[in-house]
């Protein structure tokens, strides 16, 4: 019975291979590679940056590759070549899966503040599972070294977080050194600045403590002002940080730090006030206390679960390609080539 079944399958397999032959053509592969190049150029030059032309051509290549693997006997005879092409298919599928589930975003945290899952900007794939709320960490402050000429060097940001067992962990992250929580990779960014800390005592209700993030420093050195609304009120305040010190001297190496002496200029309507740390300002619906100046750090966050698998597939592709050509070239020495 088994022998009869196999006998029937072989002609069926041959017929399938014959049917797939036009789609498995190596010349078709050349056309698709050229099309992929054209799609890359079109995507690069286009303002829209739509992923669909690339996705369409990659799908065509995947079909061509799958048919070639099924229909072309050379793949069955040459294992490295088969592994290389399967690895290429895996890369294309993983990249597509990554685009459907990735997340890229930005966030800002004041020193001492805990990340609660809110991003200032983000873009994500349609199937991203939002797990940022479980990726909680607290920034304990940072140092940034500057070379002469105000050239930014390393950023070292101390952070604490709870691991899977609930134990607190402490580490230093930077532009190149991420904090990885729940698959999300948090990096410091060049975006950082000063954060005045206030407590708002409303006429009725509990006090509210928080910071405002002044524009990024030193990029906005001469625009250290912000308009904001006091929580729970309609009161709009224009606040500017004022100091005379040179914080980052272009002539020598320095460190990012808040000024030693400063005042806050606060405008409420037509009234102008100057506040130092510890001073209070009486407003229509309560009292605003200026507690002091701290800093804020901007972070980039990235999520793509496919990354280690894409890397593994890439390495497998390179290794199998090298293996294939090494075997092929071994037949004749390079001097006799």
């Amino acid at each position: 019975m088994i022998a009869i079944a196999l006998h029937r399958m072989r002609p069926a397999g041959a017929a399938l291979r014959r049917g797939l032959a036009p789609l498995a053509s190596l010349r078709l592969t050349l056309v698709f590679i050229a099309l992929l190049g054209a799609a890359v150029v079109a995507t690069y030059l286009s303002e829209l940056r739509s992923p669909w032309p690339l996705a369409a051509v990659l799908a065509l290549i995947a079909v061509n590759l799958a048919c070639a693997v099924l229909a072309n006997a050379v793949f069955r005879r040459q294992t490295p070549l088969l592994v290389f092409h399967l690895a290429l298919m895996a890369i294309a599928l993983l990249v597509a899966a990554g685009r459907l589930t990735y997340l890229k975003g930005q966030l800002e945290l004041s020193t001492g503040e805990t990340f609660g899952g809110e991003l200032t900007q983000s873009e994500s794939g349609p199937w991203h599972r939002w797990g940022l709320g479980e990726a909680r960490f607290t920034s304990l402050g940072f140092t940034i070294a500057y070379h002469p000429g105000i050239k930014r060097d390393r950023t070292e940001n101390t952070v604490v977080w709870n691991d899977g067992t609930g134990r607190q962990q402490r580490g230093v992250i930077g532009d190149n050194q991420p904090l990885v929580l729940n698959g999300y990779r948090f990096y410091t960014s060049p975006n950082k600045g000063f954060a005045p800390l206030f407590t708002w005592y409303p006429a009725q209700g509990a006090p509210h403590r928080g910071t405002i993030h002044l524009p990024s420093y030193p990029m906005n050195e001469y625009r250290q002002a912000l308009e904001w609304t006091v929580p729970g009120t309609g009161i709009t305040l224009w606040t500017m940080l004022q100091f005379d010190e040179v914080l980052l001297d272009p002539g020598r190496a320095s460190q990012f730090r808040p000024p030693e002496k400063h005042t806050l200029v606060v405008r409420a309507g037509e009234a102008r006030h100057e506040l130092g740390p510890g001073q209070r300002l009486a407003l229509a619906q309560g009292v605003l206390a200026y507690e002091g100046l701290t800093t804020w750090m901007g972070y980039n966050v990235f999520y793509d679960w496919t990354m280690p698998w894409v890397l593994a597939a890439c390495l497998l592709a390179v290794a199998s390609l090298a293996w294939h050509f090494a075997r092929k070239f071994a037949a004749r020495s390079w001097s006799e080539a």
Partner: protein, 270 residues
């Protein structure tokens, strides 16, 4: 003139002597192969000292300014060619084609300012060395293939000096050039992979289609196209040689052209 520049000039003189001797030997149908290899080797050794002195003084490798990038590329291209010259006999007459190409890079190097630069914060990673090393082997292998292709085309055009007469036939040279292009393809793939790992930690994404990434990928695609074409269609040696030279020009423009016009943080050659 600083010590490191003196060592560099000594290296350049050795390279020029090696290249000139290779051209004269090709024209005169002589084979002073040991002398040429010794001069290239001496040039690489002197150049290594120049790079090491600058590295020690600035506390970073030749990765930042145009001067440093050109210097390190002249060094690496010559080193890869020297190894091929030493190990593969058929490559040796191609020195008369390869060295003039390197002379052009050397001329660019001597007119560029040896200004100092600061290592950006994203360069404090092992992946810088891995990415750059793979890139250098890629371009070096492609250069050897260009040298062989140049010999094929000069012979086909009837412009070959007498010294090229002793070389194998066009088909055999083109096959050898193809092997070096395969090597280039493997190392370009590794360069892109290492660059993506670095980019992930440098900029929080492994690929973003910035100009240098896009053109590097296009170079990779063009190389993949060529290798596929070469294995699926019978190409005339002259056509294969033209394709290899075209691919090298594309790779060269990617690494030494795109960074000049791009405003993205990924600077590559600059």
């Amino acid at each position: 003139m600083s010590a490191e520049l003196l060592w560099l000039w000594a290296a350049l003189l050795a390279y020029v002597a090696a290249g000139s001797l290779a051209i004269v030997a090709a024209v005169m149908n002589r084979r002073p192969e040991r002398a040429i290899l010794a001069l290239i080797g001496a040039g690489v050794a002197l150049h290594s000292v120049a790079i090491a002195l600058r590295w020690a003084r600035l506390e970073h490798g030749p990765f930042v300014t145009l001067f440093e990038i050109l210097s390190s590329n002249v060094w690496s291209l010559t080193l890869v060619f020297a190894i091929a010259y030493w190990r593969v006999r058929a490559v040796r007459p191609a020195a008369a084609v390869v060295m003039p190409i390197l002379f052009m890079l050397m001329a660019w190097l001597v007119v560029s300012s040896p200004v100092e630069g600061r290592l950006p914060p994203t360069y404090h990673t092992l992946w810088l060395y891995v990415h750059v090393a793979f890139g250098k082997v890629f371009l070096g292998s492609a250069l050897v293939a260009v040298g062989l292709s140049g010999v094929v085309l000069l012979r086909a055009a009837g412009l070959a000096p007498a010294g090229f007469g002793a070389l194998p036939g066009a088909a055999q040279l083109e096959e050898l050039a193809f092997r070096f292009m395969v090597l280039a393809f493997v190392f370009e793939t590794l360069m892109l992979v290492a660059g993506a790992i670095w980019a992930q930690d440098a900029w929080g994404r492994y690929w973003a289609w910035d100009p240098l990434e896009t053109w590097s990928f296009l170079t990779w695609l063009a190389l993949a196209f060529f290798l596929h074409l070469r294995t699926s269609v019978k190409l005339a040696p002259q056509l294969g040689a033209c394709a290899i030279i075209g691919l090298f020009v594309l790779a060269f423009l990617t690494f030494f052209g795109v960074p000049f016009v791009s405003t993205a943080p990924h600077k590559g050659a600059i």
